[in-house]
Point group: C2
Amino acid sequence: MRAAGPVSPALRGPLAIIAGAGDFPPQLAGLAADGGRQVFVAALEGAADPAAFGALDLRSYRLGQLGRLLEELRRREITDLVLIGSLPRPSFAALRPEASTLKYLPHFAKAFRGGDDHLLRGVVAFFEGQGFAVHGPAEIAPRITAPAGALGRKAASAAQKDIIAEGFRLLAALSPFDVGQSAILADHRVIAIEAAEGTDAMIRRVGDLVASGRLRIAKGDGVLVKAPKEDQDLRVDMPAIGPETLRNVAAAGLSGIGLRAGRVLIGDAASLGTLADKAGLFVEGVAP
Amino acid sequence: MRAAGPVSPALRGPLAIIAGAGDFPPQLAGLAADGGRQVFVAALEGAADPAAFGALDLRSYRLGQLGRLLEELRRREITDLVLIGSLPRPSFAALRPEASTLKYLPHFAKAFRGGDDHLLRGVVAFFEGQGFAVHGPAEIAPRITAPAGALGRKAASAAQKDIIAEGFRLLAALSPFDVGQSAILADHRVIAIEAAEGTDAMIRRVGDLVASGRLRIAKGDGVLVKAPKEDQDLRVDMPAIGPETLRNVAAAGLSGIGLRAGRVLIGDAASLGTLADKAGLFVEGVAP
């Protein structure tokens, strides 16, 4: 379908970005388009904000319009796609399948039974089964992930780097249990471990413990670490931080954030770096 | 000082119970006295409730009266002691050392610098250095810990026992990081892991996630697991559950509790079993 060449297919032909909520989908679309890629945005209704994608080629779809989306991708001879952005719990109206989508339902009914991770793997397997190549955001635009080194002016100290390394060891030990995308450590004590509550709720919990006097964290001591689980599918389930994460980390009295470079979505590095500087935080990417 | 015999010294001579807050100190004192042991209760002011110990031989001490306590123990020729109960953050008034206590301060100043675990080890080392034998509550009265098997009428199902086993593996994986006395799992997914917030706050968090619709736990599926860390000093730092734990577990919609038998304090087994029955929970002790 496409001529072979020195550039891998994933870096050439038209790219479909199936976009959920948040800043990452328009950021990725912008980076891909800036890189000379022909981009088609499939904005999921109720999640993606079409206005955020500027002049890019965009159509909106309900989840129940999957059949229509597949037809459009085939009409455009698009085989490369990225799924990015969060998907709020869909309403029944959004799920209501059109006739062209009904035949795909058994596949998803099966995937739905196995929990979130299973569902994501099912979605990837579905698109692959339909002949598409599903790419991770980092393959399309590495700049959308945490770079190695400090993001802003402040770098982690040697002691803070030790805490980050300990945190990564902790998260790795949790990986076999399919849990632990992030944790908060202070002076080598583990203060909080994320499970079902999510990263932001975990950070706020630590802030509350400190505010109520039940926990003391010395200045420069508290660090949020975030990294994917070892078997996490980075194509569709990459951990992420954003402005809200930084604001929560600052409010909780922590000193900074340690991230696995290339494996955590950060979106716009420049604006996040500026925000880190304003908040007096370090955001340190550590190469795997 | 005492005659040798077939019963170990720990099970014979007079026993001092240095008592903090909560139900465990009077329960342990009662069990030891019922077992024929001569018991002296050193009630820590602001923590232990002297009235809870009935007619037992008791004196109250501020933390700053450590010297006076040591003199009393020596006068009574007591060499066996147990430290039990929680210790709220002491007031400065409680700490104000008497003259007879001043000489011991350097020992504690050093221990205080290393965090809670370090402090507890420091306290044990201090009493040992003064010639005392520090015993764990389980040595004095095994019945104060979780028995193997079901505490009430309801036993864990085979599936629930699988979840408990998975939970114990999770806690064991966390042990090298000196964290993780408890966790909540459901259908083999890890829902919550305890760190600085404590067990009760962790259970309430899961209850809040369920109540807000952010998390669904199927009936019979959610289990609290609790076990000591591998290097935890069970003489002075044994994990515990009590009536409040059961009430929180029931309120969060969990189905029961899995405990390491003999290694988690439960206090009065009969009343806890009755409470479990009323709440429709299982409380299952699993032998190590």
